[in-house]
Symmetry: C2
Subunit: 144 residues, 2 copies
DNA sequence: TAAAAATAGGATAAAATTATCCGAATAATT
DNA sequence: AATTATTCGGATAATTTTATCCTATTTTTA
């Protein structure tokens, strides 16, 4: 569904958010360890998220990654997915046609419609805060 | 959402079904042309679908691909997707966790639940006949 | 029986995704 | 000012997905 890069990006964002609530920056190393991802690859993804202003990166000693505490609840899952995978998941045609709309639909266009819309809706309505709180409370997990 | 291979597989199946209603076998070349896919790659996918007994292949002159006319309405989209991409789309964890279930959910497990279920449902309920008829009636399209 | 028309399938290549390595830049601390 | 702890970013490699090529095999037809 999502690319590996996007999966890592979502998990990393949650972990960074979690720490940002406590005013702690987290290092690449700590992130990769927590979410069980390859360090260098994760670095690229974090750079990407930083370029999209979803997270903030601070170089040098005591540096690391953070998210503005007050922005966490306004960051939507869709922003993260969009930054890494683009919008083709819920905008592109299910069968890869170049043009696929009501006027010129692919064979599964209508069938997919509600699935795609529900996915889009979910991604646009879910914010980082909810996800982070579930980790904090031990209701959800970032690994295994 | 689906792999390119799966997209080609679905489109090819529809085109084969369409012709099978009229008792016509279709050649690899005709299929690839119709669905705008690379011929040799499409051949591999068709072999795969044949191995899974979703379509039937006939070698030699006047050979080609066909589907039992009376089976078309009982072939579900899920069978095609499963044969080519496996079941990870609607069974795997959205964030790639090895174990992700009610007892040990990933952060988006619950949010994804209904999307995944709707997708699964749609794939399991949609059959080849419906899709083929939409092409036949000119309501849907296989290319562009 | 030979030729022609097909698919089958192994080997290989190209492209995209995932992953690794390393030096440069930056910032805090000593 | 030097050292240390970091991220940045370019180069490269491994893996997976997508695509191509070529020969073998099968079947029909002349």
């Amino acid at each position: 569904m999502f690319s590996k890069a996007c999966e890592y990006g979502i998990k990393a964002s949650i972990f960074i958010a979690l720490n940002s609530y406590e005013g702690k920056r987290v290092s690449l190393k700590a992130i990769a360890k927590e979410i069980n991802s390859p360090e260098a690859f994760t670095a690229k993804i974090l750079q990407d998220l930083a370029r999209h202003s979803i997270i903030n990166s601070v170089k040098g000693a005591h540096g690391g990654f953070e998210i503005d505490k007050y922005a966490i609840s306004s960051i939507k899952l869709s922003q993260i997915v969009n930054a890494i995978d683009g919008d083709s998941i819920y905008k592109g045609c299910g069968l890869g046609l170049h043009t696929c709309d009501e006027d010129h639909p692919c064979p599964v266009h209508d069938k997919f419609k509600s699935v795609r819309e529900e996915l889009k809706d979910m991604l646009e309505k879910t914010n980082l805060e909810e996800l982070a709180l579930d980790i904090k409370s031990g209701v959800a997990f970032l690994r295994t």
